[in-house]
């Protein structure tokens, strides 16, 4: 539990903001010959980490705060990504391999004659942006409403979120869904008129993701300090009790769940133009479980933990899959075991434990009450 003073959350935001600015500074202001210069090609890599960090913050809102472990957050991320990908596909226009004025290449390849109805509107950025928010948000809302209303919780909820993303993965693998099947959406040309591969656009996308991360953190900080944030902790530790106090726990959970889904969708939308592709593997259950390990490594229910975890784990992944690819899965698997066994509060938990060691209250160790039926 972070019981910070008034200044601390603002300080954290400034800290993260400075860290985000490090990349453009090293890339643009440090001369190319310098050892500290950051190459252009690495900018989108850090942009990707930032998108992952937003995703981790989104998952931490529901898992760390409210105790709802979603193993399907990749689905919201991917849906946001697909909505953005559809906009980027429509931007290609007649520059595709088959030079069709409207249809994306994969549709021409499948001999489709016209654009499916759900692709309409995606040629306009505001519409696509609205979809980035609405589609994951609506799915999250409906799914959450169904699940929370019937009081599905704990591991059962985790399992059905996994089933959800698995079902979506199978669906998006199908060619006749009209989302490019196996290959997904790729070969993007430009975004809002800027060429997508140019260093300037990439830096712009990086900064946009940085702003999104700061916004997500601001939301998370506000939530933690609001009565709702305390209610979510109460729901996590004793939902029935919170209900007896007169709280509508369904509404509170549904709100934070939908908010988290929307954040994940936005992260996905900024992820896609930076990596240049979106395909159904983003829906895979394993990808969703990985998000949980970022959060766990950094520290659940902390402000910085998810961000730190997303950068550390993914940085390690980038490095190891290049240096010793056969070791990566051992390391990842080991992280899952180690963090849950040894570091339940993550890295931030270690730091937070250090400074404050309070004397316990007069009579410690509460005696367990007799559990007898009356």
């Amino acid at each position: 539990m972070a019981r910070a003073g008034l200044g601390r959350p603002a300080l954290l935001l400034v800290l993260v903001g400075c860290a985000v600015l490090l990349v453009p500074v090293l890339n643009r202001l440090v001369p190319e010959g310098s050892a500290f210069h950051l190459e252009d090609r690495l900018v989108p890599l850090f942009g990707k980490y930032l998108a992952y960090a937003v995703l981790a913050v989104a998952l931490d809102l529901v898992w760390g705060r409210a105790g709802i472990l979603s193993l399907g957050h990749g689905a919201f991320f991917a849906l946001g990504g697909y909505a953005m990908g559809m906009y980027l596909m429509r931007q290609i226009g007649p520059r595709g391999v088959y030079a069709h004025p409207v249809l994306p290449d994969f549709m021409v390849f499948l001999n489709w004659q016209e654009l499916p109805w759900y692709w309409y509107g995606f040629d306009r950025f505001p519409f696509a942006l609205a979809m980035v928010v609405l589609v994951p948000g609506a799915l999250g809302f409906v799914f959450g409403w169904l699940a929370f209303r019937s009081r599905v919780s704990g591991v059962y909820l985790s399992i059905i979120t996994q089933a959800l993303t698995y079902a979506l993965m199978l669906a998006f693998f199908r060619n006749d869904m009209g989302f490019g099947g196996n290959n997904g959406l790729t070969d993007f040309k430009d975004i809002l008129g800027f060429p997508i591969a140019s260093p300037d656009t990439r830096l712009g996308l990086y900064l946009a993701t940085g702003v999104l991360l700061l916004l997500a953190l601001a939301v998370a900080i506000h939530l933690r300090r609001s009565p709702l944030g305390r209610l979510l902790v109460a729901i996590r530790d004793g939902e029935a009790r919170a209900r007896f106090l007169g709280h509508d726990t369904l509404r509170a959970k549904l709100f934070v769940w939908t908010l988290s889904a929307v954040l994940a969708g936005l992260a996905g939308a900024l992820y896609v133009p930076q990596v240049g592709i979106i395909n159904p593997s983003e829906f895979s259950p394993a990808a969703s479980i990985e998000i949980a390990i970022w959060v766990a490594v950094g520290g659940r229910d902390t402000i910085l933990g998810p961000v730190l975890g997303a950068f550390l784990v993914n940085g390690m992944k980038t490095w190891l899959t290049g240096a010793a690819p056969e070791l990566w899965l051992f390391v990842l698997g080991g992280l899952f075991v180690l963090v849950t066994l040894v570091l339940p509060k993550g890295l931030v938990g270690i730091v937070e434990l250090l400074p404050r060691r309070r004397a316990p209250a007069a009579e410690p160790a509460p005696r367990p009450a007799e559990a007898t039926g009356g």
Binding site: W63, G67, L69, L71, F143, L146, A147, R149, S150, R151, V152, G154, V155, Y156, S158, I159, I160, Q162, A163, L164, Y166, A167, L170, A171, F173, R174, P285, I289, A292, I293, A296, E326, L329, F330, L332, G333, G334, L335, F336, V337, V339, T340, L341, P344, A371
Partner: protein, 536 residues
Amino acid sequence: MRLLLVLLALLAAIAAPPARAQDEAAAREALAVLAAGNLDAMEPAIGTIARSGVPWAEPVLRGLLDGRLLARQADRAVFLRTPEGAILEVASGAPAEVEARALRPIRINNRLRRTLEGALGSLTLASPDRTVRLAAAEKLFARPDPSALEPLEAALAREADPAVRAAFARARAAVLLDHGEPGARAEAATGLAESPSPAVLGKLQAARRALPADVDPATVAALDAAIARVETRLRLLEFAQTFFQGVSLGSVLLLAAIGLAVTFGVMGVINMAHGEMVMLGAYATWAVQQAFRAFLPGALDWSLLAAAPAAFLLAGAAGWAIERGVISRLYGRPLETLLATFGISLILQQAVRLGIGATNREVVTPSWMSGFVEPVPGLALTTNRIVIVLFAVAVFLLLLALVRATRLGLEIRAVTQNRRMAETMGIRTPRVDALTFALGSGIAGIGGVALSQIDNVSPNLGQSYIVDSFIVVVFGGVGNLWGTFLGALTLGVVNKLLEPVAGAVLGKILVLLALILFIQRRPQGLFALRGRAAEA
């Protein structure tokens, strides 16, 4: 030339020697016609030989068809070359003393080839060999030849073997269906409808299309009725086939899921590495088979029997280690347990990938498990699937007996129903947890033995079954073995029934969505919350 022949034939008829000798003479005449090589004259000659009843008719006609009937240019004498190259006298079948260079094969055209095939078909109908007669009937059924009708009816009249009789009757019906009078066609259609198959359906539909426009309505009605009848029967057979496939899939799911049901039911923890226990079992099967190949090649067929205990022990030991090393330390934290076991599954997969290899390992199907059984005509069930169904049921019953009738079973039930009470009664719950986990994992390993017979043995094997296993356990109700049993079979059958309607992938999506909605409807009924989850 032809005139001469006709004259000779007339002479022969007038002379009227005993029938047999007369036929023999005619056949010899016809042989000479063949040697002459006039394609038009050859057709009636082939018929003469076929009808003559001479013992050499069949080899000669077959030789002609295969280009092994040779004529000597000089005197138009005819010889037969065996497929091995020996040259024989036609009549006696004895080796002929003849200069091979003087012989030329008698050439035929496609029309003659068809004539020959028809003639040979009716000839083989009379063969003393039962399988040859059956094959001839099948051939006639597939390609009905009106000229074969007469010999077919004759053969039918003297046939004693009921199976061959049925085949002859079907062949006759097929001929009549294509070439008979309308009344005969109707009768033939009704008869054929008694032995439904896709081939029969195709024939009936073709015959229905071929009916002339002015044919009487009764015939049309008879054909339509026959088609409808066959279609219904075929649908039934198809349903039975699909149902069996569903049961077979269900039994595989059962093997994968009962172990999960045990661990989930007793301990309330989800073991994400459960699929890897199945994978370990499959690799144990492969390893045992390799060992048999090396040391006991004679008993290779029975290596599966040795693999079952090996797989149980290997997976069980792995499960025990996981419980002691990780899960027992995460008591009361089900979500963390889920994540930690997922990590273990990654490690196990990668270890196998690096240690044994990422490519598929082949586990040979023993001879006693190959082939198929046909309980009803048209319904072929593969033996290995049947064995797996029986095996799954046997494992299930064994587990049921173990839970009902042993001390460990009693303790497991006690801990499932009320952990705290069990503790106060002196049951060592940590030991029960570890043993339960080992048991559940061991059963998953046994499931791997069965899966090695129908799926690729690869490091990813477990992943393909884990989601389905969860669905089964959730459908069936936690801590309820019979529920798991019914859940697995239902899910298998539903999956397979949906497949033809919606396609495999869409079917799976529908099942997953149904699960998500099903949980909304009956969360309490499905999740009889017990064990750790209830206390957490």
